[in-house]
């Protein structure tokens, strides 16, 4: 990142400017992923009826309010964002307000006309969820036969249109043996690749998504094998604090207008149907509490030898435990595994 870019983020963190926002424009989706954090997609009805979701005007107003608050990066997410019929209008407004825009999608609807429209709207990047290197694996996770083929086709259409791509994968038991293949697919498409092993409980309170997490041995094999290079390259911050981007430079807006410290942290802070974004961002007690978290506030973490290797996320910890200051066993296990395989790990042996 350039020096100016680094200064921008440093300033945003110091002054708690919500530089990055994600708006969940709908909870509707054309997949039924087993690990979905929105809600249990096997239930006959979603917890939020479609008519309770933000209207087009409310979403446009949210975009304006974010711009006025100093937000520069805007992601449209879902559900499946490409299912929203008014996405082109949202993109137009975002362009008028000079946002750097990304779309988070499962890629199924990235048809040639749609990718042309996204390119014309100057979308900066599209993040596509991929859950396997083989159709059988991906389709088992999405519970939709044929979804892998459509997603990969969509990725290729987007690539052909010159759109920057990133492949986002969640690590689940089904795909733990295909990480190298997913990385190879991303590389072939000229896409970035990110793997998230930290699954969340669902926002509807159900927890079966967590049953899909991999065990310690599987993670160890992965970190010693297909991910050894990236784990060695990153994953070590000697003086890691409790601070994350939640409520400092990050915020999220749910499909019903709830303002969150991050789209991955469904902490109730206020609703856009009742208060302005700026008021919630500045005054919500929950927002202020998360913003001010220090290592001393995390009783299980402050003396932990694995802390330099820990990727603890306030949002996921909150979602899985209901407490932003708690420890979460999967993060602790992942940090211990990272320490075990990391070149710097020997310096941090447990007492």
């Amino acid at each position: 990142m350039s020096e100016l870019g680094a200064r921008l983020w440093k300033r945003a963190d110091a002054h708690c400017i919500p530089l990055r926002a994600a708006i969940e424009i709908t909870l509707r989706c054309n997949l039924r992923c087993v690990h979905c954090y929105n809600f249990d997609r096997e239930r006959p009805r979603p917890p939020v009826p479609p008519e309770a979701e933000l209207s087009d005007d409310e979403i446009l107003d949210a975009i304006d309010q974010l711009a006025e608050a100093g937000c520069l990066y805007l992601a449209f997410t879902g559900g499946e964002a490409l299912l929203h019929p008014s996405l082109p209008a949202f993109l137009e407004r975002a362009r008028e307000r000079r946002f750097v825009v990304r779309i988070k999608t499962n890629g199924m609807l990235l048809t040639p006309p749609r990718v042309r429209a996204l390119a014309e709207a100057r979308v900066s990047a599209v993040d596509v969820s991929v859950y396997g290197a083989r159709a059988a694996t991906h389709d088992a996770v999405t519970a939709r036969p044929g979804s892998f083929e459509r997603t990969v086709r969509g990725l290729r259409h987007a690539r052909a249109a010159g759109i920057a791509l990133k492949v986002n994968a969640c690590l689940v038991q089904e795909n733990v043996g295909e990480v190298a293949g997913m990385r190879a697919l991303a590389a072939e498409l000229g896409a970035g690749f990110a793997l998230n092993p930290f699954l969340s409980a669902r926002y509807d309170g159900t927890r079966s998504s967590l049953l899909k997490r991999v065990d310690r041995q599987a993670l160890l094999d992965l970190y010693r094998g297909p991910l050894a290079d990236v784990v060695a390259e990153g994953g070590y911050v000697p003086e890691r604090s409790a601070r994350c981007a939640c409520a400092r430079t990050n915020c999220g807006i749910s499909a019903t207008g709830e303002v969150y410290p991050c789209i991955g942290a469904p902490v109730p802070c206020g609703n856009l149907r009742e208060r302005s974004f700026a008021e919630i961002w500045e005054s919500s007690p929950a927002m202020r509490r998360i913003r001010g978290l220090r290592l001393d506030d995390l009783p299980d973490c402050r003396g932990c030898a694995d802390r330099p290797f820990c990727k603890r996320s306030t949002g996921t910890v909150y979602t899985n435990t209901g407490d932003v200051t708690a420890s979460e066993p999967f993060f602790c296990m992942e940090a211990a595994v990272t320490r075990e395989v990391h070149p710097q790990g020997a310096k941090h042996e447990r007492a």
């Binding site: 990133k166 990153g234 981007a245 700026a278 500045e282 001010g292 820990c310």
Partner: protein, 43 residues
């Protein structure tokens, strides 16, 4: 829990004056996600 003592209205930055839009747009996807510390495992 630590919390700032003063409660002032949120004052947004004046990006127009600082011409930050080009800088913001120049950050790549991977660099962008690295600003979310701790972020996902990336390559």
């Amino acid at each position: 829990m630590s919390e700032p003592e003063e409660r002032k209205p949120y004052v947004a930055p004046d990006w127009e004056e600082e011409e930050v839009f080009e800088v913001a747009a120049s950050i790549t996807c991977v660099q962008f996600d690295q600003t979310c510390d701790p972020g996902p495992i990336q390559s």
